[in-house]
Amino acid sequence: MTAALLEVSGLSVHLRAREVLSEIDLSFAQGEMTVVIGPNGAGKTTLMRALAGLVAPARGVVRLQGQNVRAMERMARGRALAYLPQNGSIAWPLPVRDVVALGRLPHGASPGSLDDRGREAVAAAIAAVGLRGLEDRPATQLSGGERARALLARALATEAPILIADEPVAALDPRHQLLILDVLRTRARDGLVVAVMHDLALAARFAHRMVLLHGHRVAAAGPPQEVLTAAHLAAAFGIEATVAYREGGLEVAIRRALQL
């Protein structure tokens, strides 16, 4: 097994005196795209924030290449790990290029002062998400899907080996979902990607590994065929689903909601 680039051990997180994550142990290896699934309120977003070092754990630790992610120097952490929050917004009508260039802040550059390397990273990120030609458009005039892609490009432009993305394709149409998941999977080759998703069929298709969160704990973790079983889906989501292998891929068909 490859050495873990990102490791979670005994992690519990409390928010407003309520336990949101309990005793989480996970490890994420180089080259893998991990998709985190789970019903609403299972703690997916909190897990993403904890991986990014943005919440203080009640117990346990998240280690990035052996270092406690909360104890890392901020800029160094920003260069090692990019975080894409859920429902990200852009406050001002900044041109798309400047939004993406904000990804260079951990490198000590800002939209007004990019070096050649920064400019290349920004251009590559804009091209990767398919926003070429919209560089000068004010971000507030983008459609929901375009805005989500601009924010993903911002995360890509940091060139951090680790990308933590909370629902990166939720706002996208099917074609862009496929294109962006391809980008993420390619990105995982040189580092790792952890993404939250709700679309189980898409998750099955793109994930190397999956994590199912249920009741603030890890209910299952491993390759998609081990996590996406009818029994797991019934217990965690309260749905009846059939899971089958077809043409080398896993196909998930959701039949109905179970009466709980």
Partner: protein, 338 residues
């Protein structure tokens, strides 16, 4: 390429500096004794008899205060708007000038300080700090317009009422004049002592606000994304709130409550710098200085028995801008959760 914005941003700085210099010279020249601008500038440097006395002792303090106070108010407005991701954020909207005035009035009321001691700006700064910190705290992370305006209105009204109460209970027969000074703001009859009292605070506030530039830029994406980009959001918040309070407190201590400069100045420059909250800071400061200098020249030119108070003029200019911004954000305000 964003050449349009870049080239505009390139001439914006020098153009604003030029405007500030022209207005500063105008401010030295305009007054009951009209001096030609060239003579006013010359009298500042060389001894030109009575012209030098007028320029150096009467008009220079006023010009310097307008420059420093306008600059600080413009900068703090731009920084607070960046911090709260809301174009309506400004010390005036937060009730900070009224709270600072209350601090200053209480110091005088209880006889803790004369009008020219350091206790006065200290109390004004404390008042401003309380009001800004309270509004930022009440407004929370992503400050909705409704909450911002309501919290500011409540604090400003409370501070205004308390100031009026303190002054009306005061045995001082000149109380009414003081109400007018503290609540309406004026640069009339200021001396170099006032400049010396306020300048260190105003300059420190401006320097501190310029130090949070990168943080404000990152905050365009929200607090979590900013934090993940290596920004210490808590530090940016403390510095912006603290420096704005120091700035407005010192300004009120020597000039009373002058409002709306911090709301209007960033709006004038933001489209010219691509709406970048960091690149808007210095132009907003320069625009604030130009606005206050222009307003201070205008109050001396408006024909009236007594000089029109500068705070009244800035409010008359600022409130329509305030309403215009609210009208433009009507949709967002209507959708805001109750």
């Amino acid at each position: 390429m964003a050449t349009g914005i870049t080239s505009r941003a390139r001439w914006l700085g020098p153009a604003l500096i030029g405007l500030v210099v022209v207005l500063a010279i105008a401010s030295l020249a305009i007054g009951p004794a009209r001096l030609p601008p060239w003579l006013a500038a010359k009298a500042l440097v060389f001894d030109e008899g009575s012209a030098s006395v007028i320029v150096r002792e009467i008009r220079l303090p006023r010009t310097l205060l307008a420059l420093l106070i306008g600059g600080t108010l413009g900068l703090s407005g731009a920084a607070l708007q960046g911090l709260l991701r809301n174009p309506l954020a400004d010390v005036t909207v937060f009730g900070a000038p009224q709270a600072a005035a209350l601090g200053a009035v209480l110091t005088l009321y209880f006889g803790w300080a004369g009008a020219l001691s350091l206790a006065l700006p200290a109390a004004a700064i404390l008042g401003a700090l309380l009001s800004i910190a309270l509004v930022v705290w009440v407004a929370g992370r992503d400050a909705g317009t409704v909450v911002l305006v309501l919290a500011g209105l409540a604090i400003g009204s409370l501070a205004g009422a308390a100031t009026s109460l303190a002054i009306s209970l005061s045995p001082n027969p000149f109380a009414v004049t003081e109400i007018v000074f503290w609540l309406l703001g004026s640069l009339e009859d200021r001396s170099m002592v006032h400049v010396a009292l306020a300048a260190p605070f105003l300059i420190a506030a401006m320097a501190a606000l310029l130090m949070v530039r990168t943080g404000l830029q990152a905050l365009s994406l929200g607090e979590e994304a900013a934090e993940s980009l290596g920004v210490d959001v808590q530090r940016v918040r403390l510095m912006t709130v603290g420096a704005s309070a120091v700035g407005v407190g010192a300004a009120v201590a020597v000039a009373g409550a002058i409002g709306f400069i911090g709301l209007v100045a960033p709006h004038l420059v933001r489209p010219l710098v691509g709406h970048d909250p960091a690149r808007a800071l210095i132009p907003a400061g320069l625009a604030g200085a130009a606005l206050l200098l222009a307003a201070d020249c205008a109050v001396r030119l408006i024909p009236s028995a007594a000089e029109v108070k500068i705070g009244v003029l800035t409010a008359l200019l600022g409130i329509p801008v305030f309403l215009w911004i609210i009208a433009r954000r009507r949709a967002e305000i209507a959708d805001a959760p109750a």
